[in-house]
Assembly symmetry: C2
Homo-oligomer: 205 residues x 2
């Protein structure tokens, strides 16, 4: 399920690039080629969201993008917040603040009084006590956690208490959350260790 | 294979934490509990690197850490470089420069003349033409790519030309490299899309 969602999000990005180049149609084997998946998987994924191509012309790119947008609940823009405006947090703010069509990073939060009431790339940074009020006002359902490991769980608890349903966690700890909350962990140190290992021992399988 | 390496790296980190708390032994079911994997998987992973615990006392933590360090080729410190000292690159430099025992971030590189010959958290930033000389001098085998998408492939080509065998790629493009080069892609935008999706539609399986 999670892998299917990743693939669909990737197809959507690639199709937008194709559309940007002026292409109007694409065959499943072509989308397979640029996405790195087999044509069979591409066709099955798209059939799963109710989209069928015509053998003669392939998939109509604009219609397929619309279909994917509907699937990902566009054009309703989803709101998200970020907690921990440190080095990584600020890099993410700079990056995620640009793509305003897909989601809306409404605010960052930090426990450092020197960072509160500053703006990073136009994104306001508030103290933690403002989290309940801002989540309620924006109906934000997703939070990004970029605080040190020792504080990540308490931040997660605060987000969950305030109805956050999805967390993108960069702290190197395993968070405990209710079943109804989805957590995606991005463990960069572990990713680096993996690359260091495989740079010497080539993948055998 | 890749998942096994991730788990072994995680066990090592958790065991170091345990050792830091003064614990000398741990049972497989305890390591299972804190790592999130089953005891059977933990035991199998450790047997695969030649380590066996005693039922009475469990695994001896220090000996197991040493065994994992040998597996990950410690104490030989691996050198790595980073290309693209932008927002994300600088956050990574600040983070990776700290843990000097495991690997050594020897330099960053950037095409922006204003960034060349600056130091970020003590890590020197050079122009791209210095890549061959620095890789050769340090025997760096891993490169981190944090340049814009449109330049990622040419940077990858340059690294591969200079014998880099492992790449941690943050640019949202699929890199083309020889079979002998390992690439780990970290696609943060796709991770966020996944969380946005599952925050609304709960995982069904
Ligand atoms: N920088 C990276 O590239 C990188 C890589 C891998 C993992 N990480 C992880 O991401 C997290 C952040 O890393 P960083 O390098 O940005 O650290 P950082 O120290 O630069 O930033 C942490 C920020 O969180 C704030 N903070 C601390 N406790 C808080 C709390 N309870 N509530 C709200 N804000 C709080 C701090 O004031 C600071 O601004 C850490 O868990 C780190 O392990 C970072
Ligand atoms: N910032 C984030 O949180 C974030 C999140 C997801 C993905 N990314 C990806 O990471 C990459 C970097 O993002 P960023 O936000 O740091 O961008 P940025 O624009 O702040 O930094 C890019 C840096 O790369 C340098 N550069 C450009 N072309 C180069 C080349 N050919 N060789 C060497 N250096 C070159 C630039 O001078 C700049 O310093 C992008 O591909 C972006 O899509 C970033």
């Amino acid at each position: 399920m999670e892998k299917t969602i990743e693939r669909l999000a990737l197809y959507r990005r690639l199709l937008k690039n194709q559309s940007g180049k002026g292409n109007t149609h694409i065959f499943s084997h072509q989308l397979a080629g640029i996405s790195g998946y087999s044509a069979a998987i591409v066709r099955r994924d798209l059939m799963n969201i109710g989209y069928y191509g015509t053998p003669r012309h392939g998939y109509e790119i604009k219609a397929l993008i619309d279909c994917l947008n509907v699937f990902f609940n566009k054009p309703e823009v989803k709101s998200l917040i970020l907690v921990g405006a440190g080095n990584l947090g600020r890099a993410l703010i700079a990056y995620f603040i640009k793509d305003k069509t897909e989601y809306n990073l409404i605010a960052a939060f930090d426990s450092d009084p020197l960072k509160v009431n500053l703006k990073y790339n136009g994104c306001p940074c508030y103290s933690l006590e403002k989290i309940p009020e801002l989540i309620a006002a924006s109906q934000a359902s997703v939070g990004i956690i970029t605080v040190p490991a020792e504080n990540a769980q308490s931040v997660a608890d605060l987000l969950v208490e305030n109805k956050i349903k999805g967390i993108l966690n960069f702290a190197p700890v395993s968070l405990t959350v209710p079943e109804s909350v989805y957590v995606e962990n991005v463990d960069l140190a572990l990713m680096l260790e993996k690359v260091l290992y495989f740079s010497v021992h080539h993948r055998e399988g």
